[in-house]
Amino acid sequence: MLNEILSALVAVATLQNLLIMIAGIWGGVIVGAIPGMTGTMAVTLALPFTFYMDPVPSILLLVALYKGSTYGGSVSAILIKTPGTASAACTALDGYPLAQQGKAGKALNMALYSSVTGDFISNLSLIFFAAPLAVLALRIGPPEFFMLMLFALTTVAGVSGSSLLMGLVSAALGLLLATVGEDMYGSFRFAFTPDMQAGLSIAPVLIGLFALPELIKLVVMRATKQEEAATLGAQHVTRAEFMGSLKTILKGSVIGSVLGAIPGIGPSSAAFFSYGEAQRSSKKGANFGKGELEGIAASESANNGACGATMIPLLALGVPGDVITGVMLGAFMIQGLTPGPLLFQTNIHEVYMLLIGMLVSSVLLFFAGKITMRMFAKVSHIPQTLLTPLVLLLCVFGIYSIASSPFDVAVLLVMGVVGFIMFLLNIPAAPFLIAFILGPMLEENLRRALAISRGEPAVLLSSPITWVFAALIAFVLFITVRREVQKFKTERRVEQ
């Protein structure tokens, strides 16, 4: 084994490979950081080039783009509240308030450190635990998946802000909107126009809900408060701050690595899961959502942690966990490598080259992040009245380009208006988005489980994994209810 690793190390350590990875990581970070452009876009864009490259460099390029764009999403989430990917939505919850307080540098650095740590741990778990995690992933059937997603949905309680009730209303709206389009048995729900048969895509809903209300607020209320953006250099994350969040970062990395290994979960759900968990266990839990570095740490360590781990089902089972790994599967096949159980026997040399390359790219991510951060930090010098329309312009072009669909652009604008109305009514937007992303997984797995059990609901508590999650859900419900009751009592005391 050692010999194989050494020979793989020699084979991968070429200037060409290094340049490809630098280009991939940096390109990914930049694409992820530009509002309206997504990692999927970057990966599909690069796919035709890989036809003419050797197998290992071409996969390394795609992995680098994936990692880079997942981190890059946090930059625009923090600076302009426009998460580049859904997995950065929780980052925006704490990052944007920090940026408004003039602490964008701290937030960006914390996001970078957490992403790199999460990424590195995830790659290690890919190297050492790929086989057991792949076996675990296979054990996750519809009932287990449903309970897991239900637990992830309890994060809603944490992102509801001042009113849990309004958070739940927002989540219900998100669950409802996610049902638009073709359901698993082929009936078209709420398809008022033919375009709606395909359902609503995540990208226009996400950007419409988070970024556009800022624009509408600017136009309608014109409350421009310009803080002087402090220079980034003076805003390092202090040692104490990093150590304070270290536990959260490590926990987020592990959550990301385990959840990422289960096909279909992906970085966004992992980030929600980790954010909810960090908020419940942190001493500073009450400050989450108002500009808490630990919140950024939780979200970013988990989404990049999931990034590397999605390679586990891809390599070990040949099963892509999301759209991007789906494109990678295509790239593998075109190269004549077939991911799956046999890959580790027939192409172990290439697998080691890939793993070593991925570890190296974690390190590259650190430097690419540092440089890009400085470039993008300058956006805070652009006046709001020009920046917000620019963001809209980028989003309109980006969203249109995903599927050449004017309908998606309409969804973007309509969701912006919905988001603004929710803002006026003090209904938080984050639970909406979490429910919108988790909703289809919840519903489909519930219906699958009931189809397999022939309508018997006991199937949802039929295995040890489901018992564990049921216990966790009960625990979270208990502490949430207790907290609400306490709040109720103190309010009453204040009144009296």
Partner: protein, 164 residues
């Protein structure tokens, strides 16, 4: 009407509309589904019924335990009517934009949208920057997306002879 009461009413009304009108009308049964498997309307119906309950709860709380008003919105001090007018203007711009895409093409429509939105934010200085943002940026973006991703942006019926 105080805002929390209005909010409760809107929530109840929306979910009731969904549960009792939209779900029966717009959730068809599939060609075949086993009798014991949950049908397509199970989930939306459950969620909207839950939404009605939550809305009722919000309404009750608003009526019987009125809380101190949440922090007021930050504005530039304009009157409500003026802000409503600005909102209506923005909605009109969005609608006109969507209508304009097939007529004027994607490029010209985005230019007009960007220009009108910048002006609506109240920005009157930085003339050169406004011009660059409204006219230069869409051209650059269109060139970029067309050459990098091969996106074909819709040409307008009226502007087709000029090539965009």
């Amino acid at each position: 009407m105080p805002k929390p009461v209005l909010r409760g009413l809107i929530i109840v009304a929306f979910f009731a509309l969904t549960a009792f009108i939209l779900v029966p009308a717009y959730v068809p049964r599939p060609a075949f589904i086993p009798g014991f498997a949950p049908p397509p309307d199970m989930w939306p119906r459950t969620v909207s019924l839950a939404g009605i309950v939550l809305g009722m709860l919000a309404l009750l709380l608003a009526l019987f335990r009125p809380q101190a008003d949440e922090s007021p919105l930050e504005t530039d001090g304009s009157s409500r009517a003026r802000m409503a007018g600005r909102f209506a203007g923005l909605m009109l711009a969005f609608v006109l934009f969507l209508v304009a895409i097939p007529l004027l093409g994607f490029l010209v429509s985005t230019m007009l949208l960007t220009l009108s939105i910048v002006l609506m934010t109240g920005e009157r200085g930085h003339r050169i920057w406004i011009a660059l943002l409204a006219f230069g940026a869409p051209i650059l973006l269109q060139l970029f997306f067309h050459s990098a991703l091969g996106t074909q942006f819709p040409k307008g019926v009226l502007t087709k002879p000029f090539g965009f």
